[in-house]
């Protein structure tokens, strides 16, 4: 078995190819964050699961430690239903961000949620320190020098939590750097020896902004590291002659996003989970999108909720 020595580990750590066999298949799921499902007209994840268990296979819980977990997320976890933990407040490339108090909060949320893994946009979640009024989300600077600090942060968080940490390509309207986004994340995954979360809508934004075709760069992407996909609707925006895509999490997929998602579903041989991000839309409005995505899922990604098994085996 290939092996590597992790940062701070006194023992040899299996490489990601071995570790991913322990990751459960979660199938198709939905995302939320603090208070999202409590807003008027928003999606109630539990209602989705009751109505369509095959669409609400798991809940991806967006967590900002300063806010904690809301009641619907806690209730979902209390029911023993599967979750993943999506961080919303860690600059992975800043070692100082792994503050003791923050980590204690993360561990407490993990104890409640029992997530299959951690994941989240590998970008800038706050400027300055982690404080009120300083939260945002920007993509990483896409240069070779950014890779090692990001990879170190992923390893450190993995070591601190004992869970896999899947970096996600963030959204943005300004991407700075000379590396293609996909090459950057391929390098990060290699350096951190980790899996990846590919957000198809975010990638579509990047490709459009950079003047690339939707599928540019995907031939060389390390598909065997892709564990999770995100699919969401976006909105084309224009201001003063500048055009970009807003990460709206609506129910209408842009054709670019769907083209990327279809290719990813075909090529990501180790895929465990697909999230449809649509948390601020009512249940009837989101069902057609879930049906569309579900129809494109490979058969091995259609588990019966509650029967998910490590390594992709189905009960």
């Amino acid at each position: 078995m290939p092996a590597t020595r992790g940062i701070g580990y006194p023992w040899r750590v299996p490489d990601f190819c071995a570790r991913r066999e322990l990751l459960p298949v979660l199938g198709l799921g939905v995302s939320t964050e603090y208070g999202a499902s409590l807003a008027a007209g928003a999606l109630d994840p539990a209602a989705l699961r009751r109505a369509r268990p095959d669409f609400g296979g798991f809940l991806e819980v967006g967590v900002e430690i300063a806010k904690g977990l809301d009641a619907p997320a806690t209730a979902w976890a209390s029911a023993g239903w599967p979750t993943t933990y999506h961080f919303l407040d860690i600059n992975l490339d800043e070692p100082e961000d792994l503050e003791r108090e923050w980590l204690a909060g993360v561990r407490a949320c993990i104890a409640t949620l029992k997530p299959a893994w951690l994941c989240g946009d590998a970008g800038l979640w706050h400027f300055g320190g982690r404080d009120r009024g300083q939260m945002l989300l920007l993509p990483p600077v896409l240069i070779a020098e950014s890779v090692a600090p990001m990879a170190e942060g992923i390893r450190a968080l993995r070591e601190a939590t004992g869970l896999e940490v899947l970096p996600e390509n963030p959204p943005g309207s300004a991407f700075v750097g000379d590396l293609h986004l996909l090459e950057f994340f391929a390098r990060v995954a290699e350096a951190a020896d980790t899996g990846l979360l590919l957000d198809c809508a975010h990638l579509a934004m990047y490709q459009r902004l950079q003047g690339h075709a939707p599928l540019d760069g995907l031939d060389d992407f390390p598909w065997d590291r892709v564990i999770e996909l995100h699919v969401a609707g976006g909105r084309e925006r224009s201001d003063g002659g500048f055009h970009w895509i807003e990460d709206e999490h609506g129910v209408e997929l842009l054709p670019d996003t769907w083209a990327i998602a279809r290719l990813a579903l075909q090529r990501a041989s180790q895929l465990r989970a697909v999230v449809v991000e649509c948390e601020r839309n009512p249940l009837p409005a989101v069902l057609p999108l879930f049906e569309r995505v579900a129809a494109a899922l490979p058969a091995r990604l259609r588990p019966v909720p509650g029967d998910s098994q490590p390594g992709g085996a189905q009960a």
């Binding site: 800038l124 300055g128 300083q134 990483p140 240069i143 020098e145 309207s173 991407f175 700075v176």
Partner: protein, 257 residues
């Protein structure tokens, strides 16, 4: 290239149009090497300002923490902080925007700024580092000295602002009449004790000059003997000093660290 320096510059470009102009200008930009700057210049500058309300949200966050100071100095002045070196230092130094704003305020909002900056510090009060045998002012308390009339102006302005401070200031502008320090240092001072409650709220009230000065002396870790001597200097009888300190410890106004 230093990715963190570039990332911090991106944040400034998204908030401060003047900094965008500087990046695209002819003069060197402190903290940015030319190759780093070239990467930023390679991106359409309009890409950094797609979120038109980012700066306004930052102003809103500041007004939420400093509502009465904002009423005293006006929104244009609050907004100008986001182009100030103190804000840039907050970004590059992992700082707190609210604390940096308090530093930037200096005397612009007189004693009101002193009070609200102290509130901002108490909301973020770190646990004091251990120093065996030492006593320090309790982390839930801030002893303040402000110009006479500050507390009354603060309370009146809070009432004037109501529940929508930003809207009130935007509609009505600055509120005049801010008390300022007199010509002599001791002219008309007010001694205030600020306490952060467990529920996140703040209690503000006048206190004796002796207590405020004793607690300010305890802003740094002090030996019990030094604090007893300070209590005597501030008017306590020598035989009472130990009891005074015990009472302050029992009330959380002093903390053994």
């Amino acid at each position: 290239m230093n990715p963190r320096a570039i990332q911090q510059a991106i944040v400034r470009m998204m908030i401060d149009p003047a900094f965008v102009a500087a990046v695209h200008g002819r003069r060197p930009v402190p903290g940015l090497a030319e190759d780093e700057r070239a990467l930023l210049r390679a991106v359409d500058r309009r890409a950094f300002t797609t979120d038109r309300f980012r700066r306004a949200r930052a102003v809103q966050a500041l007004v939420e923490e400093y509502p009465v100071s904002a009423a005293a100095i006006g929104l244009t002045a609050v907004d100008s902080f986001l182009s100030a070196p103190e804000f840039a230092a907050c970004i590059t130094g992992r700082g707190s925007m609210a604390l940096a704003f308090g530093t930037w305020l200096k005397d612009q909002a007189s004693g009101i700024g002193v009070i609200e900056a102290a509130m901002a510090r108490l909301r973020r009060s770190p646990i004091p580092e251990a120093s065996p045998g030492a006593l320090i002012c309790g982390p839930r308390f801030a002893p303040l000295i402000v110009p006479d009339g500050t507390l009354a102006w603060y309370e009146a302005t809070r009432a004037w602002l109501g529940d929508h401070a930003l809207q009130r200031i935007a509609e009505d502008g600055q509120r005049p009449g801010l008390p300022r320090r007199g010509l002599t240092r001791r002219q008309g001072e007010e001694f205030i004790l600020l306490e952060a409650r467990a529920d996140g709220g703040m209690d503000l009230g006048t206190a004796s000059e002796a207590l405020v000065r004793l607690l300010r002396f305890a802003a740094q870790p002090r030996s019990r003997r030094a604090l007893e001597a300070e209590a005597v200097t501030r008017g306590a009888e020598p035989h009472e000093a130990a009891e005074v300190l015990d009472d302050l410890l029992a009330g959380g106004l002093l903390l053994a660290i």
